[in-house]
Amino acid sequence: MNSFFQYLWLIPILPLAGALINGLFGKRFAKSMVASIALFFTGASFLVACAQAYALVNSGVDAVEPIYGTWIRVGKFSVDFGLYLDHLSLVMMLVVTGVGFLIHVYSVAYMEHEGGYYRFFSYLNFFMFFMLTLVLANNYLLMFVGWEGVGLASYLLIGFFFLKDSAANAGKKAFITNRVGDFGFLIALFLLIQHFGTLRYATVFDIASHFPAETTAGLLTAIGLLMLVGACGKSAQIPLYVWLPDAMEGPTPVSALIHAATMVTAGVYMVCRSNAIFSRAPIALLAVATIGTLTSFFAATIGITQTDIKRVLAYSTVSQLGYMFMAAGVAAYSASVFHLMTHAFFKALLFLGAGSVIHGVGGEQDMRKMGGLRKYMPWTFWTMLIATLAIAGIPPFAGFFSKDEILWQAFSSPHGSKIFWILGVITAFMTSFYMFRLIFLTFTGEYRGTQPKAHSAHGGHDDHHGTPHESPWLMLGPLVLLGVLSVVGGWVGIGNRFEHFLDPVIQKVSVEQNIALTGEASATPVSESEGAGESKGTEQLLMGISVLVAFSGLGLAWFLYVKRPELPAQIAESAGGLYKMVLNKYWIDELYSAVIIGPLVALSRIVLWQTVDQKVIDGTVNESAVAVGNVSQLVRQQQSGLIRSYAGWIAAGAAVVVAYMVWMGTR
């Protein structure tokens, strides 16, 4: 191994150093100083990551695994402080540091007028540290540390405006919902320790590779399903997705970095990383694909009705994450990671663009009060348009390649199914529709916002908010760079180059095992490079359909929101109950609070608080104090202050002693 890879630890540690410096001393620094520190450390981390990635690709080895020492050793079980760089963590690392750096740059301008500037950058760097730990760890336990750490950073940043009740509550909701998922992940780790004796990736996957594929539920299926629970929490899938839309209470760069581009993809990363386990557990795979497909479908329907610009994007994120799960669930891990990467580019861009819009109109987030912003903020408009074209899946933008790959795999993979494909295509249509709805509502037509407001929710800079204005260059720069990436980011997937790049990471399940899986002799893995002309034809047909669907979504959005802007209200009117149901997000939040949170709170209040705490615990303490007091009340009568009474007691005591001695002597 090249000794250069020994310096891999620099990548996570640099942001940590930035976080510590800003967090401990930042209060006394000037804003420019805080920003320079944060940018320097993330930028340095990005450069190191680039150098390491370049070295790895050129070294010809599949993976490097520098170990820096033992962390835990109990009997035969031990966990190291070790990092693991292969082509999968390489992609994740570059996305996290690269997109993370751009968002840091953007935040310098965006957060300029907010309080707690140093706190913000400290948290942001802190997040980068944990996210890089998560993706670079060489064992599940270290990954879990990063996993919890990003959850903490996410909590801190969602609740960044902690004086606002809704923000504080959203932070708590995110944290607690994630706990549910972490519970599953932890149990999966325990099962791994119990049955594999180690948490190190390489060993676990090696042992797993000797397992036959499980046709019925077994150990690997259990581990896979529990990991899926963890992934559902972190990556906001049904049934644990409810925290992500609320997480939009955080500052917009946070939504872009944590709740769109990086942290929420951790679950996808974990599933892809554990492909050796999932590929041998078809039931778990089916669960992954089903949850992913349903999530992407339902989140897209909710996205259609939302009017808050950030919430539309939040549901779109949930929906796109569902796509990634769908891909992972049909064992198309590389397609999943590919979409993860392109999604990081265009969704970060969309959020940053939305932030720029919100910044430009003085803190307004309701799209109904925007409109016509194209002429005020052309740069934001064009970059957001690129991102929208990318997410809608219109060639040659990035999202087209990855989404098309996913849909093709859902259709053709031995684990796939036509149902996944059909739902996926409908979702693609809805995605295109709601994204262009966002664009048309925000950027075309007339400006519907109120004229100068005395108070803007955005704070600080209401002095120049007569008309919407373009954001400063420090914000537009990242937008433009991400715009470029949203165009070219998908080109790496042409000719399956990306898939082959990830080949060393994906453990192939052998042919016999595949037969065992599907029960058919013909179920050899379908690979396009050797595929027959027929499958090539099918692929092109499907590609045509998905492009057609994307354009029809665009067309419908144009028709409803540009040509006949009065129509959507009428449609909503005629849909009545259905519209209400979707607008209220299927009342899932209400359902959860009625079925889970309400009883839990009632149980805690009545049983745990009023009975166990107040009666049992407080009762024990208070009653023993009262009992001691009562006894003392009796005994204190003795202390009369009368010397003669004391003397009398002494004499009586002496008499008793003497009587006792006499009695003993006469016995």
Partner: protein, 100 residues
């Protein structure tokens, strides 16, 4: 030869007088004298037993007790004077600052 029981009866009588005086009187000086009475009652039984057993231990003890009693008398009288100066009474029932 007077039998030892007489000495012991006298000793018990003296001691009982001391105890009774201590429990019934209020004047601190009287209490003090009652204590001396008790000590001397005990001293008497010490020397009686010592003489009877032909041992010197009891006599030595008596000297110890007398020395300690003398020292105690010196300190005690000083305290009594001090109490009288500050409280202008020698009634023990009114010397009760340490009472709860």
């Amino acid at each position: 030869m007077i039998p030892i029981s007489w000495y012991l009866l006298l000793s018990a009588f003296l001691f009982a007088c001391g105890v009774t005086g201590f429990l019934t009187k209020r004047n601190i000086i009287t209490l003090f004298m009652s204590i001396e009475l008790m000590l001397n009652g005990v001293n008497l039984s010490f020397v009686a037993f010592a003489t009877r057993m032909g041992s010197l231990d009891g006599h030595v003890f008596v000297f110890f007790v007398m020395v300690v009693a003398a020292a105690e008398a010196a300190v005690g009288l000083a305290i009594i004077i001090s109490v009288y100066r500050t409280r202008e009474t020698l009634n023990v029932d009114r010397v009760n600052l340490l009472k709860l």
